[in-house]
């Protein structure tokens, strides 16, 4: 992997230090008159790329940062290509989640009659985050294999591909969020504004978690193509392990007395989903069939913050580990693809 290393940076290897001293190469007058030479001259003295067997995580992070514009391009490309030649275009990105939403609503609210007020909002709050997470992880897993052509021929930080998959999932999240707002306005269900900052942190944690998994799995998938199919199955199970279509409290009621709530909360998506529900659904308790029923955890802001904080840290650690693993596996991508 090639890295752009500003020569002035500290901590770079001895090879880079050698380069740091600027030199003006001997050149014929004709050559130096050539267009744009001045700019090139300056750049040449100051930047060196070093291709080494392995690339440290810190370098990788800097590289990703330097390629942020590429990330935006890839996200745009993915969305453009996905809906090219389709009449409805981006609307399709909302049709599938809307269908899921409608089915769950029908099954749980109408058929099973769970009597939760504004159940659509409750469902949507959880699904919003889950769709982002699962779409990002699922498409991210296949991304290196599917872009073998570029990976084998062009030099760029390949993690960007996985990040772009999560990025386009974020775009779809944005569109679905607009629909969510419309729902909330129509149903007159105001969110709990106090939890809004926490919701942003939870979203961030979710994105980092999805990115970490996408980067990790995309590299593993090159060597073990089953990963792609395996992750589909795991995500289905994972979905039902999160309190999205049922309430957290129904699980808590069974696990709480045995002091096993932590098992349920060990699923990193659970706290994030809970924060989304706490903020957007904003009904910790509701009167159902005349009795006061608890829907969301009865804890305060601090409890939610602590859980989200833990997930955020976990997500960051996972992301860094994923980068390290990706770096180890990347060396042989070209021969495995």
């Amino acid at each position: 992997m090639a890295v752009d290393v500003p020569a002035a940076s500290s901590g770079a290897g001895p090879s880079v230090d050698d380069v740091a001293e600027q030199r003006v190469p001997d050149r014929s007058p004709m050559a130096s008159e050539a267009m744009g030479l001045g700019a090139r001259e300056a750049r040449r003295g100051s930047v060196t790329r070093v291709v080494t067997p392995t690339v440290g995580v810190r370098k990788r992070l800097r590289e990703i940062w330097l390629s942020r514009e590429l990330l935006i391009y890839l996200v745009r490309t993915e969305i453009k290509v996905k809906y090219k030649n389709s009449v409805l275009g981006l609307v399709w990105s909302m049709v599938a989640p809307a269908m899921t939403l409608a089915i769950y609503f029908f099954v749980f609210s109408v058929v099973l009659d769970n009597k939760m007020p504004n159940f659509v909002i409750y469902l949507f709050a959880g699904l919003l985050l889950w769709n982002l997470f699962s779409l990002g992880v699922l498409t991210g897993t296949g991304v290196v294999v599917n872009n073998a052509g570029i990976v084998k021929k062009v030099s760029f930080p390949r993690e960007i591909l996985a990040l772009a998959a999560v990025g386009s999932a974020c775009v779809f999240f944005f569109f679905q969020a607009i629909v969510m707002v419309i729902f909330m306005v129509v149903l007159r269900a105001p969110p709990d504004v106090a939890y809004f900052p926490l919701l942003v942190v939870a979203l961030l944690a979710g994105v980092i978690l999805a990115s970490g998994l996408a980067v990790l799995l995309s590299s593993i998938n090159v060597y073990l193509r089953d990963t792609q199919h395996l992750i589909e199955v795991i995500l289905t199970a994972w979905f039902w392990a999160c309190p999205i279509v049922y309430s957290y409290q129904t699980v808590e009621a069974k696990l709480g007395p045995r002091h096993l709530s932590w098992v349920y909360l060990a699923n990193p998506m659970t706290p994030l989903v809970l924060v989304f529900q706490r903020c957007l659904y904003n009904k910790p308790t509701a009167v159902i069939s005349g009795t006061l029923t608890v829907i969301l955890p009865q804890h305060g802001y601090l409890w939610y913050s602590a859980l989200v904080g833990i997930v955020l840290v976990l997500g960051i650690v996972l992301f860094l580990v994923a980068l390290a693993v990706f770096g180890r596996l990347e060396g042989n991508f070209a021969e495995e693809l």
Binding site: A31, T48, V51, P53
Partner: protein
């Protein structure tokens, strides 16, 4: 430390040649996590190479010699197993033209996408956008999806994007061989422009002529090792010698080169009665004047063709003719002893005559020659269509068919101009 542009430091790259690999969980479980027998293959083995700023270096090597692997390591597409590559300045790799193109996007969108894949900011692409479109000659198609482009258009756009990225180091992997001839010339022209601007160019090619005409230096790779390095002509020589030594590649493609008739060429039995063809060939040898340890001659060397012939009875006024043909069987030259102004009276029995080609003017190539014996009035006694072959190698820089002595002079003052005009 010298002002290098690319510094390859002891780079090795190992590939595991698995004889079919277990890619699925099931297979891995069944085989208990054991790997199938693998074989290590060192595509590159301790290669070190320093390319100075502004230098153009050509990498020569057979298929599978590690050329492309080396370029990929330099570009950062592959990571070396050990060693490292340092590159100073911005590098643009042309490993495959249009590699990052998205079929469904338009040419315009692809220019931006490709630019950012190569690490360019949008505003930088904006600046060179017109130049790219101009160079690729795709004005009318730039807003159409690239999937409708012909392969030539595709390649043109790919090259145009890469060369307009303002790289300090340009790495080209045999991509100059694509596109129509006019565009190829345009690409080479652009590459030469790059050289003039003091940029560094590294290119892999099969065409030794390209190395000779463009490069300042050539390096030869063989089985992952750097086996030779030097002036383009010298590198080309090492490369070709290597090919011949291995009896592979080019030499195999051209059997006439190895099958030089060192043994007497037998004369085919002919329906013509003996008394009507009193003179015939017994054998034809060709002898190079220079270094006889190599199976070719250099331009400027002498070539002698030694002809042994037999006359059944004394025959006066025999004419020997010689035709030299190139690999495509185009006639290079025909001459005969009567043109040369020689009268040969063949005595009875076996005699020997020599054709000498003095100071071979031909540049690289394999040539064959045909010979005939006839009477002065045109009656053909004997004809050898494939009398023999010879190979010429040119160690200098000029490219083309033959060497000409070219002189150049600068005429600067007006009076000199006048006098030269008067001369004309």
């Amino acid at each position: 430390m010298s002002d290098f542009a690319v510094d390859v430091r002891d780079v090795s790259k190992r590939f595991r040649l698995a004889h079919g690999q277990y890619k699925t969980v099931k297979e891995r479980l069944i085989h208990g996590g054991k790997r199938k027998s693998t074989e290590d293959f060192w595509a590159l083995d301790g290669v070190s190479l320093t390319v100075k700023e502004g230098e153009t270096v050509g990498i020569l090597g057979r298929n599978g010699s590690g050329k492309s692997t080396l370029l990929k390591c330099i570009c950062g597409v592959l990571q070396p197993t050990s060693g490292e590559v340092a590159v100073r300045g911005k590098l643009a790799g042309l490993l495959e033209l249009g590699a990052g193109f998205q079929q469904d996007l338009t040419g315009r969108e692809n220019i931006y996408l490709n630019g950012s894949l190569m690490g360019m900011a949008k505003r930088d692409v904006d600046k060179v956008f017109d130049a790219i479109v101009d160079f690729s000659e795709l004005e009318e198609f730039i807003d159409g999806p690239v999937k409708f482009y012909s392969s030539g258009m595709y390649v043109r756009l790919g090259f145009a994007v890469a060369v307009n990225m303002d790289p300090d180091v340009l790495v080209i992997d045999e991509v100059l061989a694509v596109g129509d001839e006019r565009f190829q010339r345009k690409c080479i022209g652009r590459v030469k422009e790059f050289q003039k601007e003091g940029r560094t160019i590294l290119l892999v090619t099969h065409a030794a002529d390209t190395v000779r005409s463009i490069c300042d230096r050539g390096v030869v790779l063989s089985h992952g090792h750097l086996v030779g390095e030097g002036e383009p002509g010298e590198a080309t020589r090492i490369f070709r010698e290597g090919l011949m030594a291995e009896g592979a590649g080019m030499a195999v493609a051209d059997p006439t080169l190895v099958a030089v008739p060192a043994v007497p060429t037998s004369v085919s039995a002919d329906s013509v009665p003996d008394d009507e063809r009193p003179v015939r060939f017994r054998s034809v040898h060709r002898v190079y004047s220079g270094d006889n340890t190599v199976p070719y001659m250099s331009t400027g060397d002498d070539l002698t063709i030694r002809v042994e012939f037999e006359a059944l009875h004394p025959t006066p006024d025999v004419v020997f003719s010689l035709e030299v043909r190139d690999i495509d069987n185009n006639l290079v030259m025909r001459t005969d002893t009567s043109i040369i102004g020689m009268v040969i009276d063949a005595p009875r029995g076996v005699s020997v005559m020599h054709f000498g080609i003095v100071k071979m003017p031909l540049l690289d190539g394999k040539f064959s020659f045909a010979m005939g014996i006839q009477s002065r009035d045109g009656l053909l006694y004997d004809w050898q269509e494939n009398a023999g072959t010879f190979a010429v190698m040119y160690p200098g820089k000029a490219a083309g068919i033959m060497r000409m002595d070219v002189h150049a002079a600068l005429i600067s003052t007006e009076s000199e101009l006048d006098s030269s005009a008067a001369l004309a």
